[in-house]
Symmetry: C2
Subunit: 301 residues, 2 copies
């Protein structure tokens, strides 16, 4: 199962005790941190999300409200004795920013920070358990969304086919774990010929900061849950366009067209004290919409 915890749901400027963007996706006891606005380390403390379980960090883009909290979090994890590697996926200039800050403070992190620059749509992580991709969004500077698909095992054996290919029954256990079979003659019998995939696992996509843009659809189609920004209400669609952001109704329209199951709205402008209208407007187009609220955990299937 996947579960999403919201740490910050506000846009650029903190306001009304709402914090800049950050969320944590939990899977098999690992925490995948998505964006890291200022104060994320305090939000992790407040909502009792274990920092020590953060194995991967994904930064969508280099506007400050999406990454200013990263250097502080890494620093604190190191001071608190974290010693497991962290995989960091982000636009390339972030490396220079982190390096100089570590250098001037004469700091060596107590763990390996493996930096993976992201520059185009690609698969970032691909294991038996999880496939993570990034995809570009339509924003003022390079910006990426992230999709997370749980890979389910075991695959379902088709015994008559396995027998027909002469695969020994002692190998069946490896087939259902996803391994193909090689005969004594060196012939490869693909696992897909003799098994069926497991029922698909839950799928979540974080659509980052973006204008309404239908190029996103192919990356999120049919997903169980997507987070889509809605910086403004519908009456400010022009402002949203000018600033490379979206409105409540645009987020809902994309969710509808991508036939996802559920939509979370976030990245609310600091001009709004109350958020109810965001949900109301979006539900008029896509009923299964909720607000991404700080501290709440949204299970995904």
């Amino acid at each position: 199962m996947l579960a999403l915890t919201i740490l910050g749901n506000n846009s650029a400027v903190p306001a009304f005790d709402r914090h800049p963007t950050s969320q944590v996706l939990t899977h098999n006891g690992n925490n995948y941190l998505i964006d890291c606005g200022e104060g994320t380390q305090m939000q992790l403390l407040r909502y009792k999300v274990r920092r020590s379980k953060i194995s991967h960090i994904f930064i969508s883009h280099l506007h400050g409200d999406h990454y200013f909290g990263l250097i502080g979090l890494l620093n604190s994890m190191s001071l608190l004795g974290h010693n497991q590697p962290i995989e960091l996926f982000a636009p390339p200039p972030l490396k220079e920013i982190l390096d100089i800050q570590l250098r001037v403070s004469d700091t060596t992190l107590g763990f390996d920070l493996n930096f993976h620059p992201i520059t185009e749509a690609s698969i970032l992580v691909d294991t038996n358990a999880l496939r993570i991709r990034c995809f570009p969004t339509d924003h003022r500077i390079p910006c990426f969304g992230f999709s997370f698909e749980e890979q389910r095992l075991p695959r379902k054996l088709i015994p008559e086919k396995a027998r027909a290919y002469g695969i020994p029954t002692s190998y069946y256990e490896r087939l259902v774990r996803g391994e193909s079979y090689t005969t004594k003659n060196g012939e490869l019998i693909s696992v897909e010929l003799v098994t069926e995939p497991a029922a698909p696992g839950p799928k979540y996509a974080f659509c980052a900061d973006t204008r309404y843009h239908e190029s996103l659809i192919e990356h999120i189609e049919g997903f169980d849950l997507i987070y889509h920004e809605s910086t403004y209400l519908d009456d400010l669609a022009d402002r949203a366009y000018d600033r490379y952001h979206s409105t409540s109704k645009q987020a809902a329209e994309l969710a509808r067209k991508a036939e996802v199951k559920r939509l979370l709205l976030g990245h609310f402008s600091s001009k709004y004290a109350k958020l109810d209208e965001f949900a109301q407007e979006a539900r008029s187009i896509f009923p299964n919409t909720d607000l991404a609220l700080e501290g709440l955990c949204y299970p995904i299937r």
Copy 2:
């Protein structure tokens, strides 16, 4: 009058809802921000300190718990329409750190940010109203304390001397405002010859991060209030020394030797949930000691 508001009193890692170092000194309606740990912009909101009144920012050193909140604060002030210049005093590498972060986000601040590198003891600001100096402390990387001395007016006229120098009575008003007089022959009559200084104004010093070091005394002698770090209690004096920090009793000893009037302790290690013992230990040496507590305002005379 000077007044000091504490925004953060914890050392390196946020804990127990204590925040990293930041404080605001208020004078004549201007806010002088001293250090700016992560989350300072939220603390300013929480304690209703007006960001728009920040005219000067002083960063003691480039350990993250003293400056990671700066870029976010500047960014937010710009987004909120701040348009008055800000004078920023800090160790030189901070400029590069800010520049790269503004560059990658394609951000131009809406106000002039005038960067003043600090590298040695010097006068940073010297007006009729306030004199601000920096002085080096004993820390692992270059680190500076800051002192603030209110300059009081009017000076006290000595009428018989002013008459003796032949200064016209119409000029007396300018003398008491601190202006010297130049005769028709071009001779300068120093204001100090014909007036006495006003009673000295209140003086505050922020002693930054430091080991116990008596070289600080000359910079803070007789001050009304000093803030001195006490990262550890007395039993961890060895650890304090190794990490270039001080203990409660060391801070008190320095306050006693410098004959200051009042001592505030801060920069508490995250290993301490409760802080009472810091005050108890320090008061055994210097009775007029208090804890720097977040959200409290300490008037200085």
